[in-house]
């Protein structure tokens, strides 16, 4: 009976295997079916209960037109880390990603080295691949096969062709680099040096990566020079070289490389910066300490936020400085009180307002780049611009500038004018002078824009209407800047396209800082019941120090932050 066992096993496997797969398919199909039907039911039920037509419009518009949910404003926070991703998930039903890997592309590499004959045999099995060796090497890289297996394939190829082509050498090198087989990497390096005059970028970077933590690490510097001759450096190449230097206690060289990298406008990867803090820890050297704080100033000037692991390294580095007794703690700022105080040490964080000089600079750039741009006629017309400037000069500075159309379209449950009216009345209680920017078509009486509402609003606020074809956002920005540093702006727009138009990165950063400090957002609104604003932040989110304390904002591993958002967590360091 023992003879039959494997066969029976096989049968058993198929028996168990098949039903499982069909069942899975079935459940997948079933789930998909139910989810779609549920969606449709939900729509139809909703639409019957409340505003029959409008609801339908909204749900279909939502997916089709802008992907923006205009019906009920979901709680909207503008700059907190990860909020844009959350909004994206709320607004679109993410389809289930289907990973379709066709069975034809699957090659499982062997576990042990094969002889040349066996490779030939295997190659015949996979005849349908045009380039068997290429595919095999790629799957070896993907599966992290042992070096010996790849080596045996090289032997087989060398026996057959008498030579090995460059691309196979590079792929073999990639396998060796992954397994950190330093001797082998050095051998390949010598072969490549003997065989070819120069290499290309991917081989160079693999060699730099492979040799950086070996006794031959000085070769990486030579390689780095060679890359420069024919191509551009990547930050990864520099990072690997720096790692090599730091591992071999050549700290000054590492710092030199760092400065060279920064001078070439490359942003160092966070892992490289982390290495500096890790390797400079045991040293009681003032010079070195200053250099490390220089890195922190670099982070400050370029508005780079460390991630969690780098933050921990920085914390450890500070706490290991002998004789200074630093104490680090993790906090998050309390947004609800709108105070600049750090909850853990009580120090005040930096103010978000721009300095006089910066303010004038940004104002000029906005006028030049955003409003006029390459062609005044693209956004507005000269006559209108003149009219607007006259209007601004005639009126004393405003406290709040409201983007009328943006605010009015917060919800579709209300006519637009009613929403705007609510917001204007609410703000009029707090602030004295309001300006609402809009377009001419708002003045015509219609279902959306009621004449009575507009008249009521005009008693509380000043209005400026642009032409229907002009863009209102540039005017909005200019009006706010013209009114001075205290003036706030109300819009749900993140103003990213206007930020992008600004010519240099310094101005862009200043603009973003201003925006964080002056933009108020209607965060939730239910007609007649709730109207809340997300107020502007009073403090600046940036790496900062006053000698005795350091405050460093960082990204935690959980939230994925978009580039136009800022982290909410802080590392607070204090000298005791």
């Amino acid at each position: 009976m023992g003879f039959f066992l494997p066969i029976r096993n096989w049968v058993l496997q198929t028996l168990t295997f098949l039903p499982v797969s069909t069942k899975q398919n079935f459940t997948a199909v079933y789930r998909r079916f139910t989810s779609t039907t549920l969606c449709r039911w939900a729509e139809s039920i909703d639409s019957k209960t409340f505003y029959p037509e409008m609801k339908i419009k909204d749900s279909s518009m939502m997916k089709k037109k802008t992907g923006k949910n205009r019906f009920s404003p979901k709680p909207f926070s503008a700059f907190a880390a990860g909020s844009s991703k959350m909004r994206a998930i709320c607004n679109t039903n993410n389809a289930v990603a289907n990973d379709s890997s066709s069975p034809l592309n699957i090659v499982s590499p062997p576990d042990t080295p094969l002889s040349a004959k066996e490779w030939e045999k295997l190659k015949e099995e996979y005849q349908h691949f045009k380039n068997f060796e290429n595919v095999m090497f790629e799957s070896m890289i993907a599966n992290h096969s042992p070096v010996d297996v790849a080596k045996s394939l090289l032997v087989a190829m060398a026996k057959r062709d008498g030579d090995i082509e460059y691309n196979y050498l590079v792929m073999y090198l990639a396998i060796c680099v992954f397994h950190k087989d330093i001797e082998e990497i050095y051998d390949i390096y010598n072969i490549m040096k003997a065989k070819y005059k120069s290499l290309e970028a991917s081989a160079y970077s693999l060699l730099i990566k492979g040799l950086s933590d070996s006794p031959h690490w000085k070769e990486t510097l030579v390689l780095l020079e060679k890359v420069k001759k024919v191509s551009f450096h990547s930050k990864q190449n520099y990072g690997d070289c720096i790692e090599g230097a730091l591992l071999n206690q050549e700290r000054n060289l590492a710092f030199e490389l760092f400065h060279e990298m920064v001078a070439e406008n490359l942003t160092p990867p966070l892992t490289t910066i982390k290495l500096f803090f890790d390797f400079c820890q045991p040293v009681k050297d003032d010079h070195l300490k200053n250099k490390c704080t220089d890195i922190l100033y670099y982070l400050r000037n370029h508005q780079i936020y460390p991630d969690e692991s780098l933050m921990l390294s920085i914390k450890q580095w500070f706490e290991s400085i002998p004789g200074e007794n630093w104490k680090g703690s993790l906090t998050s700022m309390n947004n609800s009180y709108c105070s600049r105080q750090c909850p853990s040490c009580g120090h005040f964080l930096e103010d978000i307002n721009l300095s006089e000089e910066e303010y004038i600079n940004v104002k000029e750039k906005i006028k030049r780049d955003v409003i006029e741009g390459t062609d005044v006629f693209r956004n507005t017309s000269p006559q209108e611009l003149e009219r607007f400037q006259r209007f601004m000069n005639e009126h004393p500075p405003f406290d709040v500038v409201i983007d009328g159309l943006n605010v009015a379209k917060t919800t579709l449950r209300n006519p637009s004018s009613k929403t705007l009216l609510d917001v204007v009345f609410y703000l009029a209680q707090k602030y004295h002078r309001l300006l609402v920017l809009g377009r001419r078509h708002m003045l015509k009486h219609s279902f959306q824009w009621k004449k009575s509402d507009m008249d009521a609003m005009q008693k509380k606020a000043d209005f400026f209407f642009t032409d229907n074809m002009s863009k209102d956002d540039p005017f909005l920005l200019y009006a706010t800047f013209h009114s001075g540093g205290h003036c706030m702006i109300v819009t749900r727009d993140l103003l990213r396209d206007h930020k992008a138009v600004l010519s240099d990165s310094v101005t862009r950063r200043l603009f973003f800082k201003w925006q964080r400090g002056h933009q108020m957002v209607v965060s939730s609104y239910i007609p007649g019941k709730i109207l809340t604003f997300e107020d502007a932040l009073p403090y600046d989110t940036i790496v900062q120090t006053d000698g005795n304390t350091w405050h460093i904002p960082y990204d935690d591993n959980l939230s994925n932050r978009a580039s136009f958002e800022i982290p909410g967590k802080w590392l607070c360091l204090q000298k005791k």
Partner: protein, 415 residues
């Protein structure tokens, strides 16, 4: 038991054959979710049979032994070291399977060096590589055609299949050209003007080449139309980039084209109230083709999409503008609503000759839309667009959208 006894010897006969090939079609032990069959190579059994120890470093010897021969061949003529290194670099990346051309000229190399980043250089190399590939493929194709033609001629000569008596002489392309030129000449004196605005100077070289390509296409399509337009190339600066590119592409034919070329602006040539500037950013939708109007097309290809460039121009000169009614006729799918120049001219020619929007808009690329809208829906949307937004129309549009959505749903389920 009896049955088993019968089967067992039979299996014994088959079994060695299976193991000899060393391959089993088996199911994976672990039940994987994708459920594909995998070929599992039973290498363990075999490597025991054949020689146990494979010399793993053998390949190095083989490679190094082949080296000395190559080193002699490598004595290439002396070149500027930087350029030689970059040539080498391109060669190496080609060996790696990246898109890079086999041969590169000095001029192309110089331009390559001017590109400021890795990605832009790679893009340029890929462009050159695809160009080279196309060229080679074309050469091969021509060669093949020539051979086929020769073979055909031989058989024809032998069999003498062609009848000798014919009513007409064979119509060659040159005789067609004469007809087209007559028609174009007629259009020059009596045809409706169509203006190309050539006052866009801040284009990159590639964009300029593409524009001139499309212009040549336009001119050809117009010439072959039943009733051609009288084409005006306005604002064309003498010795400007456009002019140079045209001369380069057309050669001597440039002077024989049946086209009015001027340095003047269209505002000087035609009365302002007849001019309509066609631009996708316009708020006005073109209803019908007017035979008394002078339509202007901006000669602009912008790969980095700059919005409202031509609209700004029309605004400055206070001209009427219009956009094609694409949204009214199509379920738009993807892509910008900006069409190429040759598509535009084909649409205008068809409109001029038939006045049928559906026929004209056939020239909009199929990948950009999901087919024409229902006429009944068009009616609603049409009214909705033209009237002020009142509550009633608002509701109607919603109904229409729901309707179309339902239709879409039905369509999906039917498929």
């Amino acid at each position: 038991m009896h049955l088993l006894n019968l089967i067992r010897p039979a299996f014994k006969l088959i079994a060695p054959k299976i193991t000899k090939y060393g391959l089993f079609l088996t199911m994976p032990r672990k039940i994987s979710t994708c459920g594909t069959l995998r070929m599992i190579y039973l290498n363990k059994n075999i490597s025991k049979n054949v020689d146990e120890n494979i010399d793993l470093d053998e390949w190095k010897l083989v490679v190094l032994s082949g080296l000395e021969k190559e080193a002699f061949e490598k004595a290439s003529p002396e070149e500027e070291p930087n350029i030689a290194a970059i040539k080498e670099y391109i060669d190496m990346s080609r060996r790696l399977g990246k898109a890079a051309p086999e041969n590169i000229t000095e001029e192309q190399l110089k331009r390559l060096i001017e590109y400021p980043s890795v990605s832009s250089r790679n893009r340029y190399l890929a462009f050159l590589a695809s160009k080279e590939m196309k060229k080679n493929a074309e050469k091969e194709k021509k060669k093949k055609q020539q051979e086929e033609r020769d073979a055909l001629r031989k058989t024809i000569d032998n069999e003498e299949l062609i009848p000798k008596n014919r009513l007409f002489r064979a119509i060659w392309e040159s005789s067609m050209d004469v007809v087209y030129n007559w028609k174009a000449a007629q259009a020059m004196s009596f045809g409706q003007p169509l203006v190309f605005d050539m006052d866009f100077n801040d284009m990159s070289e590639r964009e300029m080449q593409n524009t001139v390509n499309q212009m040549m296409e336009c001119e050809g399509l117009n010439r072959k139309a039943v009733e051609p337009f009288h084409l005006h190339y306005c604002n064309l600066k003498e010795d400007g980039p456009y002019h140079k590119e045209f001369l380069k592409r057309y050669g001597d034919t440039w002077d024989n084209l049946f086209v009015s070329v001027t340095e003047k602006s269209y505002v000087e040539l035609f009365p302002r109230d007849q001019i309509v500037y066609l631009t996708a950013d316009s708020p006005n939708v073109m209803e019908t083709f007017d035979h008394n109007k002078i339509y202007i097309i901006g000669c602009l290809v912008d790969k980095s999409i700059r919005k409202g460039v031509s609209l700004a121009r029309a605004k400055r000169l206070k001209l009427a503008t219009a956009q094609l009614p694409l949204e009214r006729y199509f379920h738009w799918k993807t892509g910008a609503k900006v069409l190429t120049l040759d598509q535009m001219i084909m649409i205008l020619i068809t409109l001029k000759n038939t006045g049928n929007w559906k026929e004209a808009l056939e020239f909009v690329p199929k990948r950009k839309h999901e087919g024409f809208l229902d006429p009944s829906l068009q009616h609603f949307i049409h009214r909705q667009k033209n009237k002020k937004i009142s509550q009633q129309n608002f509701k109607k549009k919603l109904l229409v959208e729901e309707l179309s959505k339902k239709r879409l749903w039905n369509g999906l389920w039917e498929e």
